[in-house]
């Protein structure tokens, strides 16, 4: 197992290096990321400070190393619009996005697994068909439609905060998170339900389940222990990947609900050509994604010992 983990981590490091290098190539060598563009002229002193920080007068290789060093020491420079420390901006956006992502994941896993198991245990019954229809809808409706719909119907009602709202209105974070988390969870929950149903149906036909039943183990134990653990593997993969994506910022959903997370920050930074903000967010998203998929691989190996051998 230790060997497996080391190998996976080595892969991850390689992927991160390759990805950051590509981002670097894209953002830095295909033009000056700190030049003025768009409506606003970037103040020359800020441009100069950023060029110095990123060592843009140095040879290419040194530039890349400086950039890597800046990225991994959380030293990103100042943004073009507000002249604020980009690290500070990320320090408030990252926890907000992490909260949202975790909430969404919890909701989608609970709903998805429950629905999937219910459907699989009694295939082709009314319950199963009903769940299948609902999940098809959930997967089919684009996320922005769900988001805008939830916002139009629910925001400003009961505990759901109005969007937009006056900045003096204080809203507890969990109230602010409910609607965007639901929006994000609906699609994934539907997907997880389908994955779980399919995978469980297959497992339930397997020999060891028949054996378990033959041994007289209660149906609850057969489903809850034997079948569940063996059919959850695709769900784990999917959830891991989904978490990785969400942690990089949910662009559309955060924007619809004006949720102050990474995704909204990125959308705004892109529209302002605010490269000092764009660069670290993109790098962060990639690194988090790679690390999470590595973690999923390891978890996978723990759940299914066969994988370790390959």
């Amino acid at each position: 197992m230790a060997k497996f983990i080391t190998r996976r981590l080595a892969h991850a490091v390689l992927v991160i290096i390759a990805a950051t290098f590509l981002i670097y190539l894209g953002l830095f060598t295909l033009g000056d990321p700190f030049a003025s563009s768009g409506e606003k002229t970037v103040p020359p002193e800020i441009q100069e400070a950023l060029r110095a920080k990123f060592g843009m007068d140095q040879p290419f290789f040194m530039q890349y190393l400086t950039y890597l060093q800046n990225m991994f020491t959380f030293d990103f420079g100042i943004d073009f619009e507000q002249r604020r420390d980009v690290a500070d901006m990320l320090a408030t956006a990252v926890p907000a996005t992490a909260r949202l992502a975790l909430f969404a994941i919890i909701i989608e896993v609970i709903i998805g697994l429950t629905a999937g198991i219910i459907a699989a245990v009694a295939p082709y019954t009314f319950r199963d068909v009903f769940i299948t229809i609902i999940t098809t809808l959930g997967i089919g409706i684009p996320v922005f439609v769900i988001g805008i719909g939830l916002r139009a119907w629910l925001s400003g009602e009961w505990i759901f905060p109005a969007v937009p709202r006056s900045f003096t209105v204080e809203t507890p974070w969990w109230q602010e998170i409910i609607l965007p988390a639901l929006t994000l969870a609906i699609l994934d929950a539907a997907f997880i339900a389908r994955l779980m149903r399919g995978s469980m149906l297959e497992v339930l036909r397997a020999d060891f389940i028949r054996t378990a039943r033959a041994k007289g183990i209660s149906e609850r134990k057969v489903i809850g222990k034997h079948a569940f653990r063996n059919s959850i593997i695709p769900v784990v993969t999917y959830t891991g990947v989904s978490l990785g994506v969400l942690l990089g910022g949910a662009l559309i959903t955060e924007r619809i609900f004006e949720y102050q997370g990474l995704g909204y920050l990125l959308v705004r930074a892109i529209s302002q050509h605010n490269n000092p903000v764009i660069v670290p967010i993109v790098v962060f998203a990639v690194v988090v994604f790679v690390l999470l998929s590595t973690l999923v691989d390891i978890l996978y190996a723990y759940l299914d010992p066969r994988i370790r051998l390959h």
């Binding site: 003025s36 563009s37 768009g38 409506e39 606003k40 002229t41 619009e81 507000q82 604020r84 925001s155 400003g156 109005a162 969007v163 937009p164 709202r165 006056s166 900045f167 003096t168 209105v169 004006e258 959308v267 705004r268 529209s271």
Partner: protein, 574 residues
């Protein structure tokens, strides 16, 4: 106002009407339903003007909330777009004030007088007024503020408003630390000497750049003051500016310069994303979070239908114009005939119907209708669509089919559709080969400045002070080119390099005339030359603005101030 906030301006829905200045004539002339009859229809399409400027007595109380986009600055040294003006005008009271109708009246000054050639001005101040920190407002406070803004180190974008004052070049160049033309030796009197005499100088003092500041303001780079300006206006800051979040103002209880505000407080929520800000403002009004909103162009109809019946709809022609700037010294646009041919080949009404749902009125003059006494509808006779005449003129001017013409616009400002329609019409009606390109706004300005610039550009212009001269001098005067060398970049706002001695003379005469009626006559003549005869720039659409607000809650809120903002100083809670 320079063309900086082009996004805001572009996005702002512009619509229109015939010249009904009386409010509430809401029936029938909505244009969309009488299209395509081919008749020579008058400008009667678009939305009628609706406003209620009657001011009634209110009672103190209430918090007025609205959404704005993040201003460049709220400190007078660099406040510039309408959002910055909204805050700065609430915090500061200058010598004069520009009324919503474009007239100028004394504010912190009791009165003013000037000598015969308008080169020396004496402002007698109202006494006993105090800044929010208790410091007395004297002539020195004004001198301090003016020098703070014009100092070289301030690098202010609005310092050019001081350029008529003696000593401006020295302080801007860094060779002086004071404005030699400003004398504050008597605390009750501010004396100003002008190096470029102007009988309209008093109007400029209404600009927020000319606000007084207390001693604590320090230099322009004092960040504590930039975010928490202490002024002498009807409102004061309630905590510092929270960037990207909001600004809170509260009533200044000891305001004595004018009438105290009724509102207890004003909450300005900063909405991010210029393009979507208007939509958010309207969403906020509809969900009860805001009390006032701009209206995105695509929601004009539904919003009007909802708010007009409850008297919460404001529709007003304001001080601005959309136009095509022409490089008049370079072929192929170097003759009046060529410019008129291009102008007559453009069907503004059809573009307005097709692209703006008839909410913008085709312009037929340069000076906006807001300046009632100088407005000359129809002075641009070549603004009328007439493809036959256009062809004849084009032939005369050597604008043969196949002639290449450059046409540049800025991307991201919502100008793609209507400029594309202009391009199509020029190709169809005149057979021109239009080199049509969209570039960033800053690049477009840079291109216009160059001596090699040719063709036409999309631009808009808004008023800074209450004079039609503000629409003529900066854009058409020879001195406003900024250089006399045809091979050097133009540094002024007259980037089309129009130059006509006759026009210049009229503008000079107007600046030297103390009589407003006479000035207006001179401006009319000047406009007739620059637009009617020479068509130095091609007028496209008049600027009209729309606002919605909750009239059940707020009184005195049925109109916009000169900068198209809510009149916070008089609004009260019902």
């Amino acid at each position: 106002m320079r063309t900086k906030s082009v996004l805001l301006r572009a996005a702002a829905g512009l619509a229109v009407s015939s010249l009904v200045l009386t409010a509430c004539s809401q029936q029938s002339n909505t244009g969309t339903d009488n299209s395509g009859d081919g008749d020579d229809k008058p400008t009667a399409f678009g939305y009628p003007e609706v406003e209620n400027t009657e001011i009634t007595e209110g009672k103190p109380g209430g918090t007025f909330r609205l959404g704005i986009v993040e201003p460049t600055a709220i400190d007078p040294y660099n406040a510039q777009e309408s959002e910055g003006m909204l805050v700065t005008e609430s915090l500061f009271t200058g010598l004069a004030h520009t009324n919503p109708d474009g007239t100028t009246e004394p504010a912190a000054a009791e009165n003013w007088e000037t000598n015969d050639d308008c080169s020396e001005w004496t402002f007698n101040l109202k006494t006993g007024n105090k800044f929010h920190n208790g410091e007395e407002v004297t002539s020195a406070s004004f001198k301090r503020g003016w020098e703070r803004t014009t100092a070289k180190a301030a690098a202010s974008d609005v310092a050019y408003h001081f350029d008529q004052i003696e000593g401006y070049d020295a302080i801007q160049g860094g060779s002086a630390t004071t404005l030699s033309g400003v004398d504050a030796s008597d605390p009750k009197v501010l004396k100003v000497k002008l190096s470029q005499p102007s009988c309209e100088f008093y109007m400029r003092t209404a600009h927020t750049a000319m606000s007084p500041v207390p001693t604590v303001a320090g230099a322009a780079d004092n960040q504590a003051y930039n975010d928490l300006p202490i002024g002498n206006g009807p409102f004061m800051m309630d905590g510092p500016w929270q960037h990207d979040a909001g600004i809170k103002l509260k009533r200044y209880e000891d305001y004595t310069t004018g009438d105290k505000a009724y509102l207890d407080a004003v909450e300005l929520t900063i909405l991010v994303g210029d393009e979507t800000a208007q939509q958010k403002e309207l969403d906020g009004l509809n969900n009860g979070q805001f009390d006032w909103a701009r209206v995105p162009p695509n929601q004009l109809k539904t919003t009007r239908d909802k708010y007009e019946p409850q008297d919460g709809w404001i529709s007003k022609k304001t001080f601005g114009i959309d136009y095509l700037q022409v490089a008049v010294t370079k072929a192929p646009m170097d003759s009046a005939d060529a410019r008129k041919a291009v102008s007559m080949a453009i069907d503004r009404a059809t573009i307005s119907e097709g692209v703006f749902d008839s909410s913008r009125a085709p312009a037929t003059s340069w000076v906006p209708g807001g300046y009632k006494d100088a407005y000359q509808p129809g002075v641009c006779d070549a603004c009328e669509y007439n493809p036959e005449e256009a062809k004849k003129l084009a032939e005369k001017a050597g604008l043969k089919p196949g002639t290449e013409i450059n046409f540049q616009f800025n991307t991201g400002g919502g100008h793609e559709e209507w400029t594309a329609a202009v391009k199509q019409q020029l190709e169809k009606n005149l057979g021109l080969k239009v080199n049509y390109s969209g570039v960033e706004f800053s690049d477009m300005l840079e291109n216009q400045k160059q001596p090699t610039s040719t063709g036409i550009y999309r631009l808009s212009w808004g008023g800074d002070y209450g004079t039609p001269g503000n629409f003529l001098q900066p854009l058409f005067a020879t001195s406003a080119i900024g250089t006399s060398d045809p091979n050097a970049p133009a540094t002024g706002d007259n980037r089309g390099r129009y130059s006509n001695p006759e026009f210049d003379k009229l503008i000079e005469e107007a600046a030297a005339s103390k009589d407003e009626a006479e000035r207006n006559e001179l401006y009319k003549k000047a406009e007739k030359i620059a637009i009617g005869d020479d068509l130095a720039n091609i007028p496209m659409f008049e600027r009209q603005q729309f606002r919605a607000y909750d009239s059940s809650k707020w009184g005195n809120a049925g109109f916009m101030d000169f900068h198209e903002n809510p009149p916070l100083d008089v609004i009260f809670q019902k």
